[in-house]
């Protein structure tokens, strides 16, 4: 089957393209990118006034399968991803069982083979059961197909163990994704420490609980030469540390989540648990620091930290509710609204943050619209606004921080390996 996308603005920073071009797709691959391509019987999508970008790569997603299929499955999560323009995602290993062995990777691969609607990449666990006590077989995980390792949800507390993990990951050529949080400091905290926590009578989570761990993780990365990636950066101090480390040549990259660059801690004042996440929403100054870091490149990419939870786990007292929000279906619109509309990023830079850079960090061949690449393409109406409504979300869970808000930029089509998914009809 041949497909021709006509009259759109192609934004493909991997190939330094931002121009009105047509794209011809055949057999799941991009065949030609040029002006005025003739249809010759191909199916045509008229993309006039639309923006065409490579499929997004989200390197921080919790698909919950195996183990918590009531929250999300590989099938529902990847369907939600496609709707949000995400064609490739990295699945976090905090499932039941944790993805900490060759055998469990095989199990996950089987599920992916059977039900994934998008490209699912595998992140293995650093430690067995993610307990931070004993390392999983890191070389074995790599061999079985893991692209990175992480104990996401937890940080490895033991410095020696983490140092060992970094050494082994370096040797295996694996990226380590760091959930940088000292739980001895964050404790039972549920919101950012400060005035808002005080007003609400809730326990606070200090900045120190994050940036002291970022500092340690960077130190050990420097010592071992391993590539690390700091997940869900939330505060100013972490940004400063990452910027300094990059200057020194430490192989560190970082991501920010849409909720962290969109909201501040004030959003939690109504005790709405769709604003409860870990790390928590921080102050205005922190949000501004994240935005500037996205602009200046200190933060390399945007990742959703899509964390589905059931209503039973969310629609309860704030202290008892689970941490986390879903984000696959809203991350692109949130980024357009908060970063492009505000002129912080132009379209090519946005595509870098959401496709090119995460692909580069993971070492995969995505994020480009060059001839011969997989036809993973997103067509966006950049002007259209939409209201984020619970009943329209297709993720199995509905814990979205953007519910009831109007976001700019609507995904009209997601094309995954040449297959067209229209969303606006």
């Amino acid at each position: 089957m041949r497909l021709l996308i006509k009259n759109g603005r192609v934004v493909d920073p991997a190939n330094n393209i931002d121009a009105a071009l047509d794209i011809l797709v055949a057999d799941g691959k991009i065949v030609k990118v040029a002006k005025d391509i003739k249809a010759n019987g191909a199916q045509i999508i008229d993309a006039a006034d639309k923006i065409i970008i490579p499929g997004l790569v989200d390197m921080h997603v919790h698909l919950r399968e195996p183990g918590r299929e009531d929250k999300e499955t590989v099938e529902s999560g990847t369907a939600a991803a496609l709707k949000g323009g995400v064609t490739t995602l990295l699945a976090m290993p905090n499932t039941t069982p944790a993805i900490d062995s060759e055998e469990n990777i095989a199990l996950l691969k089987k599920i992916i083979g059977k039900s994934a609607q998008a490209n699912v990449l595998i992140c293995g666990a650093i430690s067995k059961g993610r307990l931070g006590k004993e390392l999983s077989g890191i070389a074995e995980l790599k061999k079985a197909g893991a692209l990175a390792i992480s104990d996401d949800g937890s940080s490895v507390d033991n410095d020696d163990l983490l140092l060992d993990a970094f050494k082994q990951a370096k040797e295996a050529g694996l990226l380590v994704i760091c959930h940088s949080e000292d739980k001895a400091l964050s404790g039972k905290g549920v919101v950012n420490r400060g005035l808002i926590a005080t007003r609400m009578g809730l326990r606070g989570i200090s900045h120190e609980s994050e940036y002291l761990r970022v500092e340690r993780d960077i130190k050990l990365a420097k010592k071992t030469g391993v590539k690390i990636h700091i997940a869900h950066v939330s505060c100013k101090e972490s940004v400063i540390l990452i910027a300094a480390a990059k200057k020194q040549g430490v192989k560190v990259t970082a991501e920010a989540a849409p909720h962290h660059f969109s909201f501040t801690e004030e959003a939690v004042l109504g005790f709405d648990t769709n604003f409860k996440m870990n790390p928590p929403l921080r102050s205005k100054a922190d949000r501004e620091a994240l935005r500037q870091a996205l602009k200046d490149g200190t933060i390399d990419c945007i990742a959703s930290d899509h964390a589905p939870h059931t209503e039973n786990e969310k629609d309860i007292e704030f202290d008892r509710a689970e941490f986390g929000v879903i984000g696959l279906e809203t991350e692109l619109s949130a980024a357009i609204t908060e970063l492009v509309e505000t002129k912080l990023l132009d379209w090519p830079r946005l595509v870098e943050k959401m496709a090119v850079n995460p692909a580069r960090i993971l070492g995969i061949d995505q994020g480009s619209l060059a001839t011969g690449k997989d036809a993973d393409i997103v067509i966006i109406d950049p002007k259209q606004e939409r209201l984020v409504e619970k009943q329209k979300l297709i993720s199995r869970s509905k814990n979205c921080a953007f519910l009831g808000m109007k976001l700019r930029g609507v995904v009209e089509y997601t094309i995954y390996k040449g297959e067209v998914h229209p969303w606006n009809s």
């Binding site: 400060g194 009578g201 809730l202 007292e317």
Partner: protein, 318 residues
């Protein structure tokens, strides 16, 4: 009706905290309470204002004082009162807060008075049901009727609130009474000082317009009233907590200390008192203490709140 000369401008379904109220709304509750105070001095201590209404006391935390005060207040308004304590309810069987609320709604009750150990629980419940919710204390967040009765008592004793110096002593960090008092007093124009060891002062509290002191002597110097919080030394928390004896030496209210304070300083306490910990018995039972009057005023204030909320329900229904 004994309620005279009150401008009815209460429109809220719920009373969740003093943070959410305007100065005028707080004043309306206080003046309404003023009219209701007389009811408790009558031979027949009852008015028909809430006849045919059902008030459910839903208590997830043990409380005798507040629960009984609400019960007496509701009964003096002729409401039917049902008490649910978490120990005896389906809460123990794992029912969610919202499900419990919806079940009480299905019983066609009118008002839920809730005490809960988690901050924000009343806010969450109120958002999810049509019944009125009166917060009788949620976690460390708010205890609005306690602060209202404290303020009512202060006004009764000292004639005004604007310009008064009020010092709150004790575990500010973990106190809903402190938070509600801070909101109410500052909105009405009082000057508030919070006094405690540093570990019991929550971050950012100065931004609410209060002074922070770690020196009780200094904090009492200018005070027209001191509100002494209950210290929960039995608290099983991960947070740091001072030693009991050390606390009494530095922050306990004694007759000695009061001698150095302003003459006629008023001593308040939300109860129950730990004698010899927050204050000496001499102070608790002394001339400056208004602790039992607070209990009496609590009835009037809670009658006012129940009345205003019920009134708004009828107006919304009409």
């Amino acid at each position: 009706m004994t309620v005279k000369g009150i401008i009815m401008s209460w429109v809220r379904k719920d009373l969740l905290g003093l943070e959410y109220l305007s100065k005028e709304e707080i004043e309306l509750i206080l003046s309404t309470a003023d009219s209701f105070k007389e009811v408790s001095t009558r031979e027949i201590k009852k008015v028909p204002a809430l006849r045919g209404k059902t008030v459910v006391n839903l208590f997830y935390e043990p409380s005798t004082r507040t629960r009984v005060s609400f019960e007496v207040a509701a009964k003096r308004l002729s409401a039917d009162v049902i008490n649910i304590a978490s120990e005896t309810s389906s809460v123990k069987k794992g029912e969610t807060l919202i499900d419990t609320g919806k079940n009480i709604q299905a019983l066609k009750a009118d008002i839920i008075v809730m005490r809960h150990n988690y901050s924000g629980a009343a806010v969450v419940l109120a958002r999810n049901i049509d019944l009125s919710v009166i917060n009788a204390g949620d976690g460390w967040h708010e205890h609005p009727t306690q602060a209202l009765l404290d303020i009512f008592t202060l006004k009764e004793k000292l004639g005004r609130i604007p310009g008064l110096h009020v010092t709150i002593v004790g575990d500010i960090a973990h106190s809903r009474v402190a938070r509600s008092n801070i909101w109410g007093l500052t909105k009405l124009g009082a000057k508030v000082t919070v006094c405690a060891p540093a570990m019991l002062i929550p971050p950012g509290i100065e931004e609410l317009g209060v002074k922070v002191s770690h020196d009780l002597g200094e904090a009492l110097k200018q005070a027209d009233a001191v509100n002494v919080l209950r210290m929960q030394f039995e608290r099983d928390e991960e947070e740091a907590f001072p030693k009991q004896l050390e606390y009494f030496q530095n922050f306990g209210i004694t007759a000695e200390r009061l001698k150095k304070a302003k003459k006629g300083i008023i001593v308040m306490h939300p109860g129950p008192i730990n004698r010899g910990i927050e204050m000496s018995s001499e102070v608790a039972d002394g001339a400056n203490s208004v602790i039992l009057e607070q209990v009496t005023n609590g009835i009037a204030v809670r009658m006012a709140v129940l009345f205003l909320v019920a009134q708004a329900r009828e107006e919304n229904a009409a």
